[in-house]
Point group: none
Chain length 412, copies 2
């Protein structure tokens, strides 16, 4: 038995006035989600606990069975993993911005005009840079999207207890990184970062991409701001806990990072962009193709959350219908005699609020052996009548692993 879990990011909602008090899930045409609800068991799930508004990172940790209160130390490490840096225990990761500074190192624009092109080339110039005073330190630097980058430091005697160089506001100077505790490791790490600030500035200032940008009247991306120093949380991979092979199908770096941190393989799906134009059919095909090789495939679609943050109810309904088409392809092409399939959201993002909220999300699970309840439709209102009752994000992976026969008995 295999399991596929499909998550619409921020897909949960509240009653929407322009939908006559219905939610986007209630209004969208989603025959496949309804088919899963009708043929299976439904319920409501608090990603963390009732009323707690989760980030996508903490929500995903919980969905995979890790208590974020215990393992979460910030998103930086997951983003670094997501961009493709192979983070190891002991590494220190940072979220970085390509920024614009003047000759006094005052930040003119923390995002270098939200630089759209050339970010990859600039990041490549910083990757594997050598440090004059710390030759034992390796620097991994990678571009993500727009002005966003990830950096990982590897080497002996490093600490995450250092302050940010990012002033967090424009028109302030790049901050001198300071140690946040009295250990020699923190002091050493702060010194390394301060050397990197100077070194990166030198490389970026004279980089052809920036010379080109300046000649076009664009802000040069001539400095790197560091923030959110983090280490890899101690998490036993779910692949090891349950003895499974697991795969993530997603277009978004942060989610990929969490999935890699818990031991999942990652594949690049052409057209999976993490945006509203993502190719859901390509994702569905990748899922069906990989089912023979994996016990658990996690399929993540970001667009529902993006539409919610924009307060765009039409786009949200459109994305829900795209996710439904994705489910349809899997239902039609996979061997349903050997498949547990679940659909849910990682959190609620009401289009009326445009931010994550703490409302529970609907959950439906179907497949061989699943008890069937009377719920006929997949929504925040219908699933509340389901037999699953109200569970927590932390419960989901144990339930799925139990249904595919991968759970270990507790006791005898």
């Amino acid at each position: 038995m295999k399991a596929v879990l499909v998550v619409g990011d921020g897909m949960g909602d509240r009653p929407v006035e322009e939908l006559d008090g219905k939610t986007p899930l209630q209004v969208a045409k989603k025959p496949n989600m309804d088919r899963i609800a009708r043929s299976g068991t439904c319920g409501m799930m608090d990603p963390i606990s009732p009323g707690i508004s989760p980030g996508s990172d903490t929500a995903h940790l919980a969905l995979f069975g890790y208590d974020p209160h215990q393992v979460y130390e910030g998103r930086g490490i997951f983003e670094a993993l997501g961009t493709g840096i192979k983070v190891e225990p002991g590494d220190i990761s940072f979220r970085c911005n390509l920024a614009t500074v003047d000759e006094h190192m005052t930040v003119l624009d923390r995002r270098a005009g939200r630089i759209m092109k050339g970010g990859k080339a600039l990041a490549r110039a910083l990757n594997h840079v050598g440090l004059d005073f710390y030759p034992d330190i390796k620097v991994f630097f990678k571009h993500s999207v727009e002005h966003r980058c990830s950096m990982v430091l590897r080497g002996p005697f490093l600490s995450r207890m250092v302050s940010d160089s990012d002033p967090h506001h424009d028109n302030f100077p790049i901050q001198i990184v300071r140690p946040c505790d009295a250990t020699p490791e923190a002091l050493r790490t702060a010194n390394i970062l301060n050397e990197l600030t100077r070194k990166f500035h030198g490389i970026l200032e004279s980089h052809p991409t920036n010379i080109k940008r300046k000649s076009r009247g664009l802000l040069p991306a001539n400095a790197i701001l560091f923030r959110g120093a983090a280490t890899l949380p101690k998490m036993r991979p779910i692949t090891e806990i349950y003895g499974i092979k697991a795969l993530i199908v997603s277009g978004e770096a942060l989610t990929k990072g969490v999935c890699k941190a818990v031991g999942m393989d990652d594949i690049k799906v052409r057209g999976a962009t993490g945006t509203l134009t993502t190719d859901v059919l390509a994702k569905a095909k990748a899922t069906v193709e990989n089912l023979p090789k994996y016990d658990f495939i996690y399929v993540h679609v970001k667009g529902t959350d993006s539409a919610s943050h924009d307060g765009d109810v039409k786009q949200k309904i459109m994305m829900i219908e795209k996710i439904d088409a994705l489910l349809g392809h899997i239902l039609e092409n996979a061997d349903l005699n050997e498949l547990i399939i679940a659909v849910t959201a990682d959190h609620t993002t009401p289009v009326s609020v445009r931010e994550h909220t703490g409302d529970p999300v609907p959950l439906a699970i179907t497949g061989p052996g699943v008890r069937v309840d009377p719920v006929e439709s997949f929504s925040e209102i219908d699933c509340a009548k389901g037999d699953l009752g109200r569970i927590r994000g932390l419960d989901l992976t144990p339930i799925l692993m139990d249904l595919i026969g991968k759970a270990k008995k507790f006791g005898e």
Copy 2:
């Protein structure tokens, strides 16, 4: 968006024989509670956890988001706060009885005949009393109701690790207070209390109130019994956690004390007595008047619990209908486009048991953005069909703060 939470103390019940197996909530006429249930979401709430019978103090701590297993050290500190003593970190508080002793300091009546008059005058004579051997210690002493008083000691080197002077039974001598650990602070505090026992006895014995009482053949309230030494639990105020202004509207000292301990402002409402004759309309008016100034107003009505402890089902139904009238005034006079309103109980006190029990209590929440479920009436039976499912007291404040947009995201 603002939130008003209305709690009927001990309002939950079990099937009552003389009501043909219905509960007081099922029988009472309560159109406003039903309106909230009908227009919102309902569920059942275990104040602590299933089957655990809570005190009013621990239940309230949980309702405001504090795990009583972690922060609760006894009701003394909350009672002291509730009577109006400004307790500070490091202070040691005691619950005290005005009692009657004979010339050998044997307790004849632990409650001095449940003294009804003169308690305030006696307590005033003990407030700010100076200690001969410990001039650096300040003594705050305040009367509550009947024989009940609160005392707070303030000064250096104090400890709550001391035994009670209260023998807990009549016809036993006042106990010598002893240190309960080997610290010099505990020994010092025990010595202070023993000096206070003698000092208070001297002041009370010759007090005009007692001379009058004796002349009328009443027992003199000529001694103070100490019990339940407690310190202020370390609790970050909810006002700080959520960045809100919060107000308590209540007539009862203990509840006020818990609310003050978690950072709420307190107002004196004329006619709010904490008894069956309390003026609920005055409380409703105070709530509506203060809504512009506060994000969260907690309205507490004690009478339902008192009626339950008396086993008086008629009075309980009458009190439920009074609470309904209170809700009616708020629903008619507040701006419902900007208001989340919730109604529940802090615990179940069945009239058949006359004591708190561990049954869950009904909960209904309505207001902008709240998902609406099909429940039409507010009771222990109807709300169990609601979409909220079964939550815990600890979940209530996060849910309300999330609905008024004051929750902070956990993660990114």
